[in-house]
């Protein structure tokens, strides 16, 4: 028969765990809202950047000859993978699903005989990846956007990638992050940054206005003047674009993290509630059994006299 005191202690500890998880859920919900607002606010810039890049690259000869960031350096041997995870745990399957996606890509590339290098953003991803591919990890960015994610954070990562590209340390760069769909669902998304490919994400995200405007622009086939010249603008614009794409991924990732944490903590709170109910029932039954047993003892003692 379970001990009454043990049960009481157990119920208390589950109750305090429940308090923690429900508080974490509230915090995650507030942070999620902030992260979503921020992602919303940043969207116009990246949309316009995409459009400007579109107008610019229309006039350029495709394939070789263009800037290396756009056309690639003609090789495909060394891949750089930027794995974006969170710094903190307790967010359900958030980190493990990114890492699973990353591992699949890494294994696939290694099987094809390519070289792989990994840059980690966020402590958790590094911790898991280190088990299998310690030698591949070049560096980790930690504590990005601890208070509030700023564009400067994205530029830090972007500059690092650019300087590596200029030093010819890799040929193809891909980022892998969680795209935010809803608080319940996050989609692991690999996106190739160098050579740059307009992502499918943009097209999916385009609102009605943008589409109509895009077609307007297209039908006009406006011939732009360039100041200074096309090549020079592109050379400025492309590194900038890299940071913009990174910033967008970081924002999506931050929103996803909070969403995942909110869901995970909601589940945990509910599970704790169920557990408390079960334990309370057991506790009451046991208590009653004890009382009955004691009564029987007293009565049978009285009868024996």
């Amino acid at each position: 028969m379970p001990n009454l005191k043990d049960l009481r202690v157990r119920i208390d500890s589950v109750k305090s765990t429940q308090k923690i998880t429900s508080a974490m859920k509230m915090v995650a919900a507030a942070k999620l809202r902030r992260a979503q607002e921020q992602a919303e606010a940043a969207r116009p810039y990246s949309e316009r950047m995409d459009r400007m890049l579109g107008s610019l690259s229309e006039g350029l000869p495709t394939g070789a000859g263009g800037p290396e960031l756009l056309a690639g350096n003609g090789k495909d041997d060394v891949h750089l993978l930027v794995v974006m995870t969170s710094d903190r745990g307790l967010c359900g399957g958030f980190n493990s699903s990114i890492v699973r996606g990353a591992l699949k890509i890494i294994r696939g590339l290694l099987d094809d005989g390519k070289d792989v290098k990994v840059l980690c953003v966020g402590r958790k991803g590094r911790d898991i990846l280190r088990r299998d591919f310690r030698s591949l990890i070049l560096d980790t960015f930690e504590d990005l956007g601890r208070k509030r994610l700023s564009f400067a954070d994205a530029t830090t990562v972007g500059d690092r990638i650019l300087s590596m590209f200029e030093a010819d340390e890799f040929d193809v760069c891909t980022i892998i992050y969680n795209r935010f769909q809803s608080a319940m669902t996050q989609i692991v998304t690999p996106q190739q940054l160098i050579p740059f490919r307009a992502s499918d994400v943009d097209q999916a995200n385009d609102t009605g206005d943008d589409v109509s405007e895009a077609t307007q622009d297209g039908s006009q086939k406006a011939v732009y003047e360039f100041e200074p010249d096309e090549q020079e603008i592109l050379e400025d614009l492309l590194p900038r674009n890299l940071s913009v794409q990174l910033f967008r991924a970081l924002l999506e990732n931050a929103a996803s993290e909070q969403g995942a944490r909110m869901t995970a903590m909601d589940n945990a709170t509910r599970n704790a509630g169920e557990m408390i109910d079960d334990l309370t029932v057991t506790y009451n039954r046991t208590r009653q059994a004890f009382i009955t047993k004691e009564l029987i003892e007293i009565i049978s003692g009285a009868e024996a006299l």
Binding site: A41, S55, F151
Partner: protein, 137 residues
């Protein structure tokens, strides 16, 4: 022809400004240019400087940009700024603080970072100058 041009100013973190204006003067890399309705299509890089928005033949608003890109079509002028500060609402004390902070960073910077730190200082000084000029005008 419409007598206004749609002016949009976007910083990486948010959309700052989007409304029809009569004339906007943008600091292009090769010289300032004014955008009136019906401007020929143009894509330009920006240098550090001040964007002036005109209304009723007078400057209505001044916005400092540290650099960026501008795309002009006959109906629309879109500016992608690296960083943008509205001069009307900027606080001189904050800006001075920023200049001093940038100077301190430059002094402490290792040789590799000197270039970036110097650029940051130049931008903050330009902002201070722009602020003072705007106050006098």
């Amino acid at each position: 022809m419409a007598d206004t041009v749609e002016f949009e100013l976007v910083a990486p973190e948010e959309l700052l400004f989007s409304e029809p204006v009569e004339l906007v003067v943008v600091p292009g890399a090769e010289g300032d240019f004014g955008v009136l309705p019906g401007h020929s299509p143009l894509i330009s890089t920006l240098r550090t400087g001040v964007i002036s928005v005109y209304e009723n033949d007078a400057v209505n608003r001044r916005i400092f940009v540290s650099g960026g890109f501008a795309k002009v079509t006959p109906e629309r002028c879109t500016v992608l700024a690296d960083e943008a500060v509205a001069l009307e609402s900027a606080n001189r004390g904050d800006v001075e603080e920023r200049v001093n902070a940038a100077r301190a960073v430059l002094d402490a910077a290792a040789d590799d970072d000197k270039e970036n730190a110097a650029a940051a200082l130049a931008i903050s000084e330009a902002l201070l100058l722009a602020l003072d000029t705007a106050r006098q005008a």
